[in-house]
């Protein structure tokens, strides 16, 4: 759902670029910024999660880790705060739709 970006980048200090996959599409981000910032700069998503109660669309709100509106599935792990998670090259980010699902156990417990 491409919508116009709400943010753009100011001239910066030539930070290195990394690549993330967001909802199956590739975006570029700058090292040192958060996943939420990268997604807002890319303007790729109109919302980053839907609520478990009413399915309402939400997007990052406070950018400082208090509102939990930016919960996303990052590298398969749900309930990650995108505004508190720094981008890493090759990261896979998906929207969290409704209630988060428990990830499959990494290994069998003997």
């Amino acid at each position: 759902m491409p919508t116009g970006p709400q943010f753009q980048r100011l001239p910066d200090q030539n930070r290195a670029t990394v690549t993330l996959t967001v909802e199956g599409r590739t975006i570029e981000a700058k090292t040192g910024e958060t996943v939420a910032a990268a997604i807002l700069a890319a303007g790729l998503l109109s919302h980053t999660r839907t609520t478990p109660v009413l399915g309402a669309e939400r997007a990052p709100y406070c950018m400082m880790g208090v509102c939990f509106e930016c919960l996303m599935v990052i590298d398969g792990e749900p309930n990650r705060q995108a505004c508190m998670t720094l981008v890493q090259d090759g990261m896979n980010v998906e929207r969290q739709l409704g209630a988060r699902t428990a990830p499959a156990p990494a290994q069998e417990v003997a």
């Binding site: 400082m64 208090v66 509102c67 939990f68």
Partner: protein, 472 residues
């Protein structure tokens, strides 16, 4: 949650590396205490000096001269041996002064002989109809994106609300070349009159007033429309589900402005999540309309060995935070017998004088920028609890059914039980209940906050490395 206690790992653990935390850590380390400094961000600075010394901006001067102060604090910090834990989420603090950390997915426990909480402020929630729409953010969020990621709005931006930060972010955007559609100020006209009687005292710290006047003048020179005395704000979505316009009323006129980004602000309030989880006593501040942990002149709470410094103990601003950080550190050093009370008092004198100076402007600012009644106690159709989608009308309905306070409201309708743990609705839910019952805030109280105060998975908790003898 009770975990086996490790031995004290540090004399002092400081939680939060903003101005209060940096000053506390530096002061304590200078007195010979072993100090750990913990922060959720990748580097020191807190929100006010976010990304200081590592700004992504080619020209960080657009952030203004006050921002540059952060670099000096970080510099002072670096002159001492302090064990710093950055990117570290604090998920628990106990009355035994243990701190549960999550760093890069790894859990660990620290224990301090003393703890200073310098967790600062968060923006007061701005519950208006439509504040949950994508594209509606806080003014602070806009500022964090500017400081930490070098982002400025490309969509048409409206900045709405009340408080000094409203004008600061607008001024910073103007420096960055952003065209601001409008600044919509909700400060009620009556506040100006009420604030006047505090002006004499505020003039003692007139640098604050001069700064404010200069910011507003700068905005006017830049031709930014400033619409005053706005009431009944309501954000409306466009076809794509994102915010498209802001409706409001000034005088007898209904107005609306198109916007692709709406930044809201109603001042800041102490982030009391940790002091609440520790069951410290809190008092209602009727002027700042927020709860503050009960502390003495040194920042000591009623939990032994626990201090609160900076805006977390009541909003006084970044410069005051440095001084309250040092006062807490001096008192902690006194408690640990590193300095005598007389030495503490002597070293504290300049900080106490500076605190009084910075405090002189607060009654004026707090009265002038007091939130309008329709924001503190919103209309029925306004969502208060964003996580569980509980409206003001729902809360009033619960009160009619006999709900007495926020904790009962949880049982009636889950408000405060989502992932933010009441951070974004606690104040408003209590205000609406107090208003509906016609009783003071002290009588309705606040949510009971329980650890973990930040999400931690069972797997991460199970990975906790507990010393064998402690586990037995």
């Amino acid at each position: 949650m009770s975990l086996p206690a490790p031995c004290p790992t540090h004399d002092l653990i400081v939680v939060g590396a903003g101005p209060a935390g940096m000053a506390a850590a530096e002061c304590a380390a200078g007195l010979g205490l072993s100090v750990a400094l913990v922060d959720e961000q990748p580097r020191p600075g807190g929100q006010i000096y976010r990304a200081t010394g590592a700004s992504p901006l080619a020209d960080a001067s657009i952030l203004g001269p006050d921002y540059q102060r952060g670099a000096a604090l970080v510099e002072a910090l670096s002159r001492h041996r302090i064990e710093c834990f950055y990117n570290a989420t604090v998920w628990q603090v106990t009355r035994d002064r243990e701190i549960g950390l999550l760093v890069q997915g790894q859990t660990r426990l620290l224990q301090g002989r003393a703890i200073i909480l310098a967790t600062g402020a968060m923006e007061r929630p701005v519950p208006i109809p439509g504040w949950t729409l994508p594209g509606v953010m806080t003014a602070g969020a806009g500022q964090i994106l500017l400081k930490s990621a070098g982002l400025m709005p490309s969509a048409s931006v409206v900045i709405a609300g009340s408080g000094p930060l409203l004008f600061l972010i607008a001024w910073q955007y103007v420096q960055a070349g952003v065209t601001i559609a409008a600044v919509v100020e909700t400060t009620p006209h009556g506040n100006y009159l009420r604030a006047l009687r505090h002006l004499g005292r505020a003039l003692k710290a007139n640098e604050y007033l001069r700064k404010g006047v200069a910011l507003i003048a700068g905005l006017k020179r830049a031709g930014i429309p400033i619409l005053r005395n706005a009431r009944h704000l309501r954000a409306e979505a466009g076809a794509d589900g994102r915010v498209a316009r802001l409706h409001f009323r000034t005088g007898n006129r209904d107005r609306s402005i198109e916007c692709g980004l709406l930044l809201l602000h109603q001042g800041v309030v102490p982030n009391t999540q940790i002091t609440r989880a520790l069951d410290c006593s809190h008092d209602w501040d009727a002027l700042q309309r927020c709860w503050r942990p009960r502390v003495n002149e040194w920042g000591a709470t009623d939990v032994p060995g626990l201090w609160v410094a900076g805006d977390g103990a009541g909003i006084a601003g970044a410069r005051a935070a440095e001084h309250s950080g040092r006062l807490a550190a001096l008192d902690a050093a006194r408690l640990l017998d590193r300095i005598q009370p007389s030495e503490r008092d002597e070293k504290a004198a300049p900080d106490k004088a500076a605190l009084a100076h910075h405090g002189a402007v607060r009654p004026f600012l707090d009265t002038l920028y007091a939130s309008a009644p329709d924001i503190l106690v919103p209309s029925d159709d306004t969502i208060l609890c964003r996580c569980e989608e509980v409206t003001a009308g729902d809360i009033r309905h619960f009160v009619a059914l006999g709900c007495q306070g926020p904790n009962q409201a949880k049982i009636f309708g889950r408000s405060g039980m989502g992932p933010c743990q009441g951070r974004l609705c606690g104040l408003t839910v209590a205000e609406v209940i107090a208003d509906a019952r016609g009783v003071p805030m002290e009588e309705v109280g606040y949510y009971r906050i329980r650890p973990p105060i930040k999400p931690i998975t069972l797997g991460q908790l199970a990975d906790l490395d507990i010393p064998q003898e402690a586990a037995e």
